[in-house]
Symmetry: C2
DNA sequence: TTGTATGCGTTATCAT
DNA sequence: ATGATAACGCATACAA
């Protein structure tokens, strides 16, 4: 069995209270005894039992990360950013995949509470009312990443999705394109999809270009979705550029175009979104609206830890800068 | 404050012992009282505190996953497979990124022990002696994924890397190639890199083809590494096929070849390894030696949980089947 | 400066 | 069938 604080106390011939004191270097403890305790700790290879400590302090120094799917291309970088700063502050992370299933989200939240995590990094586009209610009910500090809380109650870190989409489409417009398709997240609902579609609308409107529904496809975020969507669109309309709300979609679009003998970017510009790792490896390299994924994770975790550590809630959300990365999928 | 077992006991007018009994449905408890307790639990929205339970039972139902880098393309699927089965068995996972830094691996292991995880899923190519020693010293059940333990002491789940590389190269040979380059992991050391190189050697030898060092490059696993390596190789030698020990490497190779005006697969066959998600989106779609990543994660976790739950160590490692996926980067 | 004793929320042993 | 109580390993209020 691993040595406990009692063993150390015995070895150093002091009380466990004293051991605890040098462990947390709290109170003043005589240099001699402190050294004795340290020696004993060393000798026994003692390491405090954090579970016991947590039960006493009611803090575990672990936070839960609720993510739709870690094997999705978008999340690993965010999680890495989050874990890196967690590590800096001596926190650990518990990873939970939900597949955007509301029931799973709720169940995980309950379990996280049972395991006494100090806080939650929450990623989901479901933005379900019940989940937010539960978060509050459970009294779990949380920060939302990627999306924002429609009610504004829980802090978030994200980009300005409306502006980002606007900028992307404006870029396409500036290149002289007039028939710009939109492929990706749905315009309904309160999540980022709606914002991006709004940005698309605004950019077109500003240039007085009529939005044609024939060039719009709401679909999933996989390459296959982009592939199918552009093929459908091309049945009904001409297109000189495609704005996609995800890089994978854009890759699917480009692959479909290639099969049709349409050259990218010579004949059609294709723009992605996110700037996932493979955007710069794909051929052509993707021009895309970049989200700072790693930073979103790291500032999110920083916010959360701050929120956990201080009593006064700062209640401030962060909107990080997006950026258009010019590569080779647009002229 | 959340309700505790005491509150439930008071509400149901029974002792905490009885509450505990119905919670764990152990012993026989009178149906009436059982119902009273259940009602009380319901009424108070009581949920057991798992930290307290863990302190008592010495089991946390959480396992640590030590991974080089979750934002690397290879690991998310493994982790997802692992988390999925963990979830099935009511376990949670703690994610630790090490960047293959031995000190970080050791520190994380210590922390995992302090946090009383029940076991460890360990991924690393460092295969450091000290780490294995620590694992044993800490008395932490562990299973190794992707690599195997040279000393054979700790169980693992992996593919047969020598055979997989052999099969890949043999495939290239069968297509009529004679000048097959090797780009990727180092031949020295005890990890999978050495095995793969051995497979390459064996396949060539079997066809009595002399291995030319000019066509071999030991390098990292990024696209950039493949890109640079093939350019270097092409300075010194002719090549009609390239065997890469990673898909990203292969993509880098293909991109370099494209820049040189060399067509894949018409002029040069390029084969990848792993079958990461993007292999089928990249153009050309990659022909590759597939590792069953998700399965490696899921059977690894299954092994670990079994190891944790039963006392007798089964001490059996799993070698999963690899598979050559024929796509468009080879003739 | 140091020690004693209590409690964190459970499980489990021993009574009853 | 149920209750009282001791542990699990630690932090901390209170004594000394």
């Amino acid at each position: 069995m691993a040595a406990s604080i009692k063993d150390v106390a015995k070895e150093a011939k002091v009380s466990i209270a004293t051991v605890s004191r040098v462990l947390n270097n709290i109170d003043v403890v005589n240099d001699d005894t402190k050294q004795r305790v340290k020696d004993a700790i060393e000798k026994l290879g003692y390491r405090p039992n954090i579970v016991a400590r947590s039960l006493k302090t009611q803090r575990t120094r672990t936070v839960g990360i609720i993510v739709p799917d870690i094997s999705n291309q978008f999340y690993p970088e965010i999680v890495r950013g989050a874990e890196d700063v967690a590590n800096i502050y001596d926190y650990n992370v518990m990873l939970c995949n939900t597949d955007l299933d509301k029931e799973k989200e709720i169940e995980y939240l309950r379990i996280m509470k049972e395991k006494m995590v100090d806080g939650i990094i929450y990623m989901s586009s479901s933005l379900d009312e019940d989940v937010f209610k539960l978060l509050e009910e459970l009294n779990l500090p949380a920060v939302l990443i990627e999306n924002t809380d429609p009610s504004g109650k829980i802090e978030s870190v994200s980009i300005d999705n409306e502006a980002a989409a606007y900028d992307g489409v404006a870029y396409l417009l500036k290149k002289g394109n007039k028939k710009i398709a939109y492929i990706g997240s749905d315009k309904d609902g309160k999540n980022l999809g709606a914002s991006r579609y709004k940005g698309y609308e605004r950019a077109l409107k500003e240039k007085k270009i009529k939005l044609s529904e024939d060039r719009v496809a709401f679909t999933g975020s996989k390459a296959k979705d982009g592939f199918d969507a552009i093929n459908r669109i091309l049945e009904a309309a001409e297109v000189d550029a495609v704005f996609c709300t995800g890089d994978e979609i854009a890759m699917g679009v480009i692959n479909a175009l290639r099969e049709r003998g349409v050259k990218v970017p010579e004949q059609v510009d294709v723009m992605g979104f996110d700037n996932i790792y493979f955007s710069s490896i794909f051929n052509p390299k993707l021009t895309t609206v970049a989200q700072p994924m790693y930073d979103m994770g790291s500032v999110g975790m920083r916010m959360l830890i701050k929120k956990i550590s201080t009593s006064e809630p700062e209640e401030k959300s962060y909107v990080l800068a997006h950026q258009i990365i010019e590569r080779n999928s647009c002229k």
